[in-house]
Symmetry: C2
Subunit: 145 residues, 2 copies
DNA sequence: ATTCGTCGGTCAATCTCGTCCAGCATCACG
DNA sequence: CGTGATGCTGGACGAGATTGACCGACGAAT
């Protein structure tokens, strides 16, 4: 699926998606047209889904992170899903199997704001909240086959 | 903290971190030296923590995603933390308050692989696994103040 | 009120980089 | 063999980044 050079390219970009093609090319051991071509093909194939940024929540005024598990009351599933999507402090959410229907991560300014958000959800679902104390594994790439 | 233009710049980069400075500048309504300057300052301040890529797990041969909650047995906390960090299929993990000590997300090729990974963890911790069925909120930026 | 310093910005010149093109090596196949 | 597809390189040219000189708005001190 991916050869050694593709993996190399993805690793380099994961560390810094804004490297110039020239630098990317030399680190991957090819010329820049080839590197550009590889890059284009990875995007076309959909393997590489996009280029984005990582922010520092602290520096943005979000010193608190939490993970909430959400179990909607009967009949409320779609309403709760909509509510989650419409809560901008929720930065990611998965719908999962098991008793808890959703698992979401959110950034907040303080406990009061967390409380406000949870109150709003609690009208339509049971929630279970965990405060993030640290992040032993920061977002990283899975092994590339 | 951040003014309107900074927010604009971050939004643009979140959508495509590889835009040229020229394009970034015009979309943000300034000249390219100014845009470069803003960008440099955002990095220096640490607000902008880096540029990275988004991959498509499917296309990489990881059709299955799971979220696991991990409660180490007494005395095993550090060993379990190490184990999690050394499991490359785990792409992110938070240490949280509450009964569950860790919440981790992982990408796997199939159920067999998930089982293997869980077996290894289960020697040292209680685990609770949820399979991801869909992702109502894909990774996004929190509101920028 | 004037002056001075600073901050954030523009413009223009230069230097770097990306992209396009032509051409070459390798390989699978009739 | 000859042919076509694939993946690469090097060079040329146009687009983009960077740098330095300059400009105007704003605040503080004289």
């Amino acid at each position: 699926m991916l050869d050694e050079i593709d993996r190399r390219i993805l690793d380099i970009l994961a560390a810094n998606a804004r490297v110039s093609l020239k630098e990317l090319a030399q680190e991957a051991g090819l010329s820049s047209p080839s590197a550009a071509d590889r890059l284009r093909k990875l995007e076309e194939r959909g393997v590489l889904d996009g280029f984005t940024i990582a922010l520092n929540p602290m520096k943005l005024g979000y010193p608190l992170q939490a993970v909430i598990r959400v179990r909607p009351m009967p009949g409320m599933l779609h309403i709760v899903e909509r509510l989650i999507q419409d809560t901008p402090e929720i930065v990611e959410c998965d719908k999962v199997t098991g008793d808890d229907c959703f698992i979401a991560k959110l950034f907040v300014r303080d406990m009061a704001q967390l409380d406000t958000i949870l109150d709003r959800i609690a009208e339509k679902a049971q929630t279970n909240t965990s405060i993030v104390k640290s992040t032993p594994v920061k977002r990283r790439l899975p092994p590339l086959l």
